[in-house]
């Protein structure tokens, strides 16, 4: 898989650098022979992260062009090479996103770096297409706690966005969310709030006021307010988020019970885990608050039950459903919720058998 190379043996002026750390390389990948590493650990990380999937593609990109006599043939070859490069960038982008959503950041970084380098080679150093790469790298670095690296990437992303006057609001929204996360992680709460509010504004413009993305922004803001010691604001934001998710999940449940389809495509695994974490965080806050409201807790537990049912985890759904039933006995109203909890319990029990 790898063979050692001697840097001194390279032609004059040619420096072979490691893929990950950009130090002088001592190893070469034998499959494609265009990728270099400084030690076996880096090679292993890169292999698991991205190299396994793109090695053959790299070979075909770097192979010398065949001799074509016609200009048309040469142009066709050039176009095909471009297509392959774009394909490479796409694969790297998707892989990096997958690793980030699974929260394994050290795997995400090589993929994101490959994405960035090839995008720079193809599109130049400032256009907006590089911004997703920068954002992924920043997110991975925040996850790995290297804040200065993350800040560097985000500054570059900001500069790219500033240079394109008619940028898509989605890009603005993603950029501000990453910046908000960075500032929240470093403890600069007012800057974090500033960025999150811009994020929510852009997200509302693109996705509407009532969407998962906007409410994701609200949740992040609520956390910052909590750290700033403003529990009443946090509570009102958490209530909004909880209501939204409850309505959204109820709608999905109704859709399933009416059409009878399997609940497989509603949530991906990573999204399921994320939403579960969010709802449990809100529930914890609600329980520790000075004046706990039992109907709010019941709402949250019901939402958790529905979420796990939609992700096909029937044991957890049953567990949360029973808890919700207990909580709802306390409050006098909410007959429709009682009914839907009953339905949920029946459904889960049916599927467990």
């Amino acid at each position: 898989m790898s063979s050692t190379i001697n840097p001194l043996a390279n032609p004059k002026g040619v420096k072979t650098l490691c893929e990950l750390c950009q130090k002088p390389a001592k190893l070469q990948c034998t499959n494609c022979r265009v990728t270099y590493y400084c030690n076996p650990d880096h090679q292993q990380t890169d292999w698991t992260s991205i190299h396994e999937k793109v090695c053959p593609l790299l070979v075909s990109i770097h192979s010398p062009p065949p001799l074509h006599t016609l200009q048309a043939d040469r142009e066709r070859h050039h176009r095909e090479t471009l297509k392959k490069q774009e394909q490479l960038i796409e694969i790297a982008h998707l892989e990096a996103q997958k690793w980030v959503s699974k929260k394994s950041f050290h795997h995400a970084i090589p993929a994101a770096l490959l994405f960035l380098r090839w995008a720079m080679r193809l599109y130049g150093s400032h256009p907006v297409k590089l911004v997703p790469a920068y954002l992924l790298l920043a997110q991975a670095n925040i996850g790995l706690d290297s804040m200065s690296q993350a800040r560097e990437y985000l500054t570059k992303a900001e500069w790219a966005v500033m240079n394109t006057p008619d940028c898509n609001p989605t890009v603005h929204h993603q950029l501000h969310r990453s910046l908000g996360r960075l500032h929240a992680a470093t403890g600069k709460y007012s800057s974090a709030l500033f960025h999150f509010s811009n994020d929510v504004y852009y997200a509302s413009e693109v996705f509407g006021l009532d969407s998962i993305v906007t409410f994701g922004g609200y949740f992040l803001m609520a956390e910052v307010f909590l750290k700033q010691n403003k529990p009443d604001v946090t509570r009102s934001l958490y209530t909004e988020v909880a209501c939204f998710w409850h309505t959204h999940l109820c709608k999905l449940m109704e859709g399933i019970s009416q059409s009878g389809i399997q609940a497989e495509d509603c949530f991906g695994d990573a999204q399921c885990v994320e939403v579960d974490q969010m709802l449990r965080c809100i529930l914890e806050f609600e329980e520790q608050y000075q004046k706990p409201r039992s109907d709010q807790s019941a709402l949250l537990v019901h939402s958790l039950a529905m979420l796990w049912l939609l992700c096909n985890n029937y044991t957890k759904a049953l567990e949360y459903g029973k808890k919700a039933e207990v909580l709802i006995q306390g409050s006098s109203e909410q007959n429709s919720m009682r009914e839907s909890i009953q339905n949920l319990l029946h459904y889960a029990e049916k599927h467990l058998q």
Partner: protein, 394 residues
């Protein structure tokens, strides 16, 4: 050397990573609506943000009115703080201030929106036993009235009426809420009745007018009561029920006499005369019409006078009293000469002519039948010089 560079570096190189400066520059770079929205969110007012954002989606020229946006921001923030503290009275006041702030015609929809919000927040307020809810109903009713959606206005006014029944609430100018509700309801019912009349639905319109009359009676103010009675009387006349019409017109007449309102009194006499004539009591009708003419003359109201004379003339015509009717028509014609309307003048001319002719007709025929030299001379003289000697000794 390095220290000099270090000292000057703050001025030589721009400080691109100072968050305060970054935020200040962004306030200039971004549009005002974005700054206001982010301002609300940073302060924690996410509901105000949601409301404002929804409004901005519908309102395209928001950028041109910065002071309006700023007012919206401040009042919405205050309303949200009050809502979080559970003080719905404060929320109501803030929404009301916002509704009153938008006075231009192009902002009518904003006014409407905030009055609706004020009603919703007033509904949540239980302490003052519904006074603010009643006021909110009044405001919304007024908005619908101005827009022309009379059914919705009626609904809200009726709610206002029911809430103020038996209560002693007063508004800022000291006027009782209940009186106000009666008046507004009366107006709505009258307009609805007019609409129904246009659609030829007489029964329903009479029901509406009766309701309007009840409201006017309850409010205690005799002016609207008289007018409502008059309209009811006219409506009953149009369907042919003259006894009830006379009853209501009698009420109208009494009120006008009590208020010494000559104009309305004259109209009352005229209308009563009409119903009397239709029910066959022509002498009485003539009496009333003479009273009408008297009043109009004393008030120098030429139009009414002309109407009175014309009407008298036509009644007398139908009773074959052509000489007297000719006199009245001549008076009417003289008045019509001074008025600006050509069609009226022409009609008056026709009437004068016909009544004069009818009054001379009998004598003329008699003369022709006699056909002696004396009478034929008279006829010729009339033809030549229009001298009317027929009624002399024959």
């Amino acid at each position: 050397m390095s220290s000099v560079v270090a000292r000057n570096s703050r001025t030589l190189f721009p400080d691109i990573y100072n968050p305060q400066k970054q935020r200040r520059t962004s306030t200039f770079r971004k549009p005002l609506r974005q700054n206001i929205c982010t301002g609300l969110l940073c302060a924690g007012f996410h509901r105000s943000f949601a409301q404002l954002f929804a409004l901005l989606q519908r309102w395209e020229e928001a950028e041109a009115h910065p002071h309006k946006l700023e007012t919206l921001q401040s009042f919405l923030a205050r309303a949200e703080t009050a809502e979080r503290a559970g003080q719905y009275g404060e929320v109501y006041e803030n929404h009301l201030c916002l509704a009153r702030f938008f006075t231009e015609s192009e902002d009518e929809w904003l006014k409407h929106h905030f009055f609706q919000l004020a009603l919703q927040s007033a509904r949540k307020l239980k302490i003052d036993s519904g006074k603010r809810e009643a006021e909110a109903n009044l405001h919304i009713g007024q908005i619908y009235f101005v827009k022309g959606q009379l059914e919705l206005a009626q609904e809200h006014y009726e709610e206002f009426y029911h809430m103020t029944l038996g209560r002693e609430w007063q508004d800022t100018s000291g006027r009782s809420h209940h009186e106000c509700s009666c008046e507004e309801l009366g107006r709505v019912y009258t307009l609805l009745a007019e609409r129904l009349l246009q659609k030829q639905d007489c029964e329903l319109s009479i029901k509406m007018l009766t309701k309007a009359y009840e409201m006017a009676k309850e409010s205690g103010d005799s002016g609207p009561k008289g007018k409502a009675a008059y309209r009811l009387g006219l409506a009953y006349q149009s369907i042919g029920d003259h006894t009830t019409a006379k009853q209501f017109l009698g009420v109208y007449k009494d009120i006008s006499t009590a208020r010494e309102d000559m104009d309305n009194l004259g109209r009352a006499y005229g209308a009563i005369a009409k119903s009397l004539e239709s029910s066959g009591k022509q002498t009485e009708a003539v009496q009333y019409l003479e009273k009408f003419a008297e009043i109009s003359m004393s008030n120098k109201q030429d139009r009414n006078l002309e109407k009175a004379y014309t009407y008298l003339g036509s009644i007398l015509n139908s009773r074959v009293q052509y000489d007297e009717s000719y006199v009245y028509f001549k008076h009417a014609y003289e008045i019509a000469c001074n008025m600006a309307s050509v069609s009226r003048l022409q009609k008056a001319q026709v009437r004068v002519g016909t009544s004069h002719a009818l009054s001379m007709l009998q004598a003329y025929y008699k003369h022709i039948e006699i056909s002696r030299r004396h009478s034929i001379q008279k006829i010729i003289m009339w033809k030549e010089k229009r001298q009317d000697n027929f009624i002399e000794a024959m």
